[in-house]
Amino acid sequence: MGLHIVVCVKSTPASTNVAIDPATGQPKTTGVQSELNPYDEFAVEEAVRLKERSTGSTATAVTVGSDVCLREAIARGVDDAVLIAGAEFEGGDGFATSLALSAAIKKLHAEKPVHLVLFGKNTSDTGTGVVGAQTAAWLDWPSATAVMKIDAIDEISATVSRAMEDGTDQIKLTLPACVSTVKELNIPRLPSLKGKMAAKKATFPKWGATELGLPPAQVGVAGSATVVVKATTPAPRAAGVKIEGATAAEKARKLVDILIERKLI
């Protein structure tokens, strides 16, 4: 029977060094090459490992937006993919995006019961790190965040280790469940040549709001609960002081002088 693992991924700009478009006041990302969000690599790798561990298992990648990340996930060993795309999804925040993901997961779940949905820590662009728990909330499924290890999993339940600020928690989840991960989870493999070939040729369903059964008012900008009204570059720091000295001992003394003077130590 095996497990059905879904991994939610995103295509993000390959560089986060983006400029602001003076006309719109928003980041200029058109023409910037996109790639699989770096934090999603760990979630994809875990999906593939879980699939390999028990026979008859499948791993499906899902995204809202562009198919770049789906092909990258297939190259890394994921079996199937679903692309949620259409003009109606543009400008969606975490709230709207997680609703679209949850609708797609429900649809997949009806076709072949889903056991676990994996997410990366956060995305490198908007970086909210909350879409996993939001998706779980829409589905009314249990969830765990900052998961560093999947200790045990069968078709009924999973035990996961969660990296807290002061140690490690172990959480038991009744499946299906959503899990947001951290990079300690694994060391991702590089895509194989065979995988890259498969990714190039892969075809997958494209679902719009209609296929997901979502009214236009619930997706994209219209369905968002927040809007970024403006983007600015952080104020540059004031010019610093340089510690000069003939010897290392003199520099060390001068540094400690300043730190004490500024009440920093």
Binding site: T16, N17, P27, P38, G94, S98, K121, S124, T126, G127, G129, V130, V131, A133, Q134, A136, A137, P142, S143, A144, T145, A146, T159, R162, M164, E165, D166, G167, T168, D169, Q170, I171, K172, L173, T174, A225, T226, V227, V228, V229, K230, A231, T232, T233, P234, R237, G240, V241, K242, I243, A248, A249, K251, A252, L255, V256, I258, I260, L264, I265
Partner: protein, 326 residues
């Protein structure tokens, strides 16, 4: 139109409130005073009634104490249900949480349960309700507007000073809640074994990078950190090289920190790293390369070899601190 009133959601960790709770109170109090709205808090804990008194004594008008033996460990669904029940009780407009693992997950669930907009890692809340938060790895700051009557925000650690115990005392209201059967449960906790200061709450951090050259390079880092009472951080390059464990990593894939003092040793200042520490109050860079980004952005730059400088700085700190306290 936004609803009135501000609600802080405080979650205990191992029976105590993390210090960031008191930062939330400062942010909430400032906002409440500016908007002339009431400030409330809910404490979700197996010891809520005892902890609520500490919150009520720091300038919160009304504190709900949600206590249940099962609240000994954090689970997302149950805690979100408790917080949502309190939030719905008096229809609060702004809900504030910590940007730690629990606060973030809880905020995400609450935003869906309350159909509320969410902004994470907020550094500033404007009186008009807009929130400022970093994005694109901290290269940009976005101004977020909420389209919903309720807005949920998680606040970046150390973005606000910690509220002190005051003379006024808020009202404490027990909030009985039966979590019922849950699809997730807390099974066990393994504490951090090393006796080190947690990065996220540290006021001082000494951090090392690729420039240290080897795992032995971290020895003088730890020695200086111990002499100063600082936490130890590291760049991704140092962690990926296996010189120190991942828990020390500062930056985009690691922890976001905002200490009063950040000493970066042998860290060139890749954007990934800067994203996690550039809002530190004072940055000291120690590097052989005077032109690297970290030396350029630092408030205090010391050019030189760390192997020579660090032991001298540590000795100087010990000497001066020792004489100051004697």
């Amino acid at each position: 139109m936004a609803n009135k009133g501000i609600l802080i959601v405080a979650v205990s960790q191992r029976g105590a409130l993390p210090p960031v709770t008191f930062e939330l109170i400062t942010a909430g109090r400032r906002l409440a005073d500016a908007l002339k709205e009431p400030l409330a808090a809910v404490v979700i804990s197996e010891k809520a009634s005892a902890l609520a008194a500490d919150v009520a004594a720091r300038g919160v008008d009304k504190v709900f104490a949600a206590e249940h033996p099962s609240f000994v460990g954090f689970t997302e669904e149950t805690f979100a249900k408790v917080a949502a029940a309190v939030a719905a009780k008096e229809v609060y407009g702004k809900i504030l949480l910590a940007s730690n693992v629990a606060g973030r997950a809880l905020a995400a669930r609450l935003s869906v349960l309350l159909k509320a907009g969410l902004a994470t890692d907020v550094s500033e809340i404007r009186p008009d309700g807009k929130a400022l938060r970093p994005y694109f790895s901290g290269n940009l700051i976005s101004e977020v507007e909420f389209k919903t009557p309720v807005s949920v925000m998680t606040l970046g650690a150390m973005a606000f000073p910690r509220a002190e115990l005051g003379s006024s005392k808020g009202e404490i209201i027990p909030f009985p809640f039966d979590p019922g059967i849950s699809k997730s449960s807390f099974a066990a906790y393994a504490p951090e074994t090393s006796n080190e200061i947690d990065l996220g709450a540290a006021e001082k951090i000494v951090s090392g990078g690729r420039g240290l050259g080897s795992p032995e390079g971290f020895k003088p880092i730890f020695e200086l950190a111990h002499a100063m009472g600082a936490a130890v951080g590291a760049s991704r390059a140092a962690v990926d090289s296996g010189w120190v464990p991942y828990k020390h990593q500062v930056g985009l894939t690691g922890r976001s920190v905002r200490p009063k003092l950040y000493i970066a040793v042998g860290i060139s200042g890749q954007i990934q790293h800067l994203a996690g520490m550039s809002s530190s109050d004072t940055v000291v860079a120690i590097n052989t390369d005077k032109d690297c980004p970290m030396m350029q952005m630092a408030n205090i730059a010391v050019q030189g070899d760390y192997k020579e400088l660090l032991p001298l700085i540590t000795a100087e700190v010990k000497k001066r601190r020792g004489s100051a306290s004697a």
